[in-house]
Structure formats: C-alpha cells, structure tokens
C-alpha cells in the first residue's frame, strides 16, 4: 500500500487522505459483513453486487491480491458455475480483509 502515491493520485492533503482511508476501512468492514450474510443465505447475486462494491474501494489502494480475489468472486457469483470454489474464495476473502484492515489503519495513523 503506497499512501504517498495515493495522496498524489487524489491530489489531496493529509486530512482528506485520512478521511478517505477511514472511509475505506468502514466500507470494507461493512461490505464484508454483507458478503458473509449473503453467502450464508447463498444469495449469490448480493454477493456479486457487494464484491463489485468492495472492488471499487480497494482498487484505489492497489491491493492487487484482494482485487484479483474480488474479481474472481464477482465473476463466479454471477455465473454460479463453481459454488464450492466460490465459497472457498469467500473464505479466503475474509482472511485477506482481516489482513489488510490493520495495514490500512496503521497507514491512517501515520498521517497528520
């Protein structure tokens, strides 16, 4: 995660960057919960929509591993072709999210 690169990308000050960072953390947590609920209910359309929504949040941070995983979930949730694989990817998503959130929070704390 390159917070300085993001600052340049958004052309903003530290205060705005910090608020964006916090917003992303909030969104990612919220969307993760939505995906958990939808996956339990096997509501794959909702999984797809939420994966899509999380994608636009995390793309800005260039979290490539998470982006690839979300893209895969979005495609498979839409096609419903490989539900066991999809479930496995969703489990992996939870792990990834738990990993990146502290990183993002740390980056936020470093800002003024």
């Amino acid at each position: 995660m390159d917070i300085l690169g993001l600052k340049e990308y958004l052309h903003c000050d530290d205060a705005f960057l910090k608020s964006i960072n916090q917003k992303i953390v909030e969104e990612v947590k919220k969307i993760k919960k939505n995906i958990e609920k939808a996956a339990t209910e096997e509501n794959w359309q909702t999984v797809k929509l939420n994966a899509h929504k999380m994608l636009s949040s995390v793309k800005i941070f260039e979290m490539n591993e998470l982006v690839s995983l979300l893209e895969k979930i979005e495609i498979n949730a839409n096609s419903k072709n490989n539900i066991p694989g999809l479930k496995k990817d969703i489990e992996n998503l939870y792990i990834q999210v738990e990993k990146v959130i502290p990183e993002m929070q740390l980056a936020s704390e470093k800002l003024q």
Binding site: H11, H52, S57, K59
Partner: protein, 230 residues
C-alpha cells in the same frame, strides 16, 4: 454556475468526487443520492444541469434509471467496469469515467463538462439548438429549427420535420418545455407548431408544409397577435 447531482451507491467515490468538485470553479453539487429510485423521486431536473451517474447499483441500474426518464439530462457516466463505454456513447454522455478516478483524470473530465456547456451556450446564442428525443429505443438529436409540428396522439407524440417524422413517448408538455418558447406555440390541445413554418392562416386553420392544423379558440387571438395578423 453549473449545478450537478451525483447518483452512486459507493460512498467512497461520492466523497472523492465531492472533494474534487469543491476545487473546481463554476460547478456545484446540489445533491448526492445512493440509489436511483430515491434520485428519481427527489431530483428536481429543472434545477440541475447534469448528472454524475454510476451504472451498477442494486435495485435499479444507472441505465434503467436513464430509460425511465422522459428527458435525459446531460450525464457523465462513472463505473468500475470498462464495459459500459458503448452505453455512454449511446446516451450521448459528456464523458465516461472509469473508477478509481485520479485527480488528473477528473480535471480533464471537468474541462470536458465546461466545454460541453460552453458549446450549448453558443448554440443557444446562434439559435442552433438541438433536442434529444427517444425514438425506436435510441436517443436522437433533432435540430429545433427543423421541427414543423409536434402532435399528441393517444399514447405518444409525433414530431414532424421536413422529411421525417419521429414517434416518442414523451408528453406534449415535455416537448414544449424543451423548445424555445419564442419560436413555438401550442395552437391546439394536440398540436404545437413552429411559428416561422406556418405557410397559411385561414380562420381557425393553419397550413404547414401542405398539412392543415386546427387552431383552438383558446389560442386563436394569441396566434394572430404573434403572427402580427391584423
């Protein structure tokens, strides 16, 4: 000052876009909506100049939202998917922004928006106005100057130009609101005509391009006055 609204279910993008727009002269955000259904009920389309519109949203997509409007306002389409470029073209979008959007890319887009409205202003001044109507599932540009008559039918409206006629599901009033009031006049509950296209006036009947059109008594005095017939 150009006024815009943002329709996007992604609060992060909305926050970034609002921040970007706050640094741009002459563009003001008058409303943000996280779903098209709310926007449909709350936006006063006479108050806004253009829209930033996301495509993939739950419930109703941005494209479904546009299809539900009788008059499509100028739009900037924003999406996380590259696949909607063709749709943006079909809806005559001013620009198509692929998320995430850098500040540099946004500034280019804001420049395009301003240039678009400058062009519209010039067209207004020179009288070369156009309107967009939905005909056969597509949005078609019609030069206002080419319109002879607008006729309300049972379920639609027919716009007649010199060589062609176009059916659209807009209401007569919607079309009337889009046309320059100095040049057009409603002469009957089912007819709007361009005054400069009238060839003959015979009592309560006018002739345009060899077609006769009735004039209601309600409108006859105003018509004679506007045509300076004594």
């Amino acid at each position: 000052m150009l006024k815009c609204a943002i329709i996007d279910d992604d609060p992060l993008f909305t926050k970034i876009l609002e921040q970007y727009l706050s640094e741009v002269d002459n563009i003001e955000v008058v409303g943000t909506y996280d779903n098209p259904s709310t926007a449909l009920n709350k936006i006063n389309f006479h108050e806004i100049d253009f829209l930033y519109l996301d495509v993939e949203m739950p419930g109703m997509t941005g494209l479904e939202f546009l299809n539900s409007l009788s008059v499509v306002p100028p739009i900037v389409i924003v999406s996380g998917e590259k696949a909607y470029g063709a749709d943006a073209f079909e809806y005559n979008a001013i620009d198509y922004l692929h998320k995430p959007i850098s500040h540099a890319r946004f500034l280019k887009s804001a420049g395009k928006v301003k240039a678009y409205f400058e062009k519209v202003k010039v067209a207004d001044i020179t009288g070369q106005q156009n309107i967009f109507i939905k005909h056969d599932g597509m949005h078609i540009r019609l030069a206002v100057d080419d319109i002879f008559t607008v006729r309300a039918n049972d379920n639609d409206v027919t716009i007649a130009t010199n060589g062609k006629s176009y059916k659209t599901h807009l209401r007569l009033k919607d079309i009337y609101d889009m046309l320059p009031q100095n040049d057009f006049m409603q002469v009957h509950r089912s007819f709007i005509v361009q005054l400069s296209k009238i060839d003959k006036v015979d009592g309560e009947v006018i002739e345009i391009n060899s077609r006769t059109i009735p004039v209601s008594r309600t409108y006859i005095n105003e018509l004679y006055e506007r045509l300076k017939i004594k």
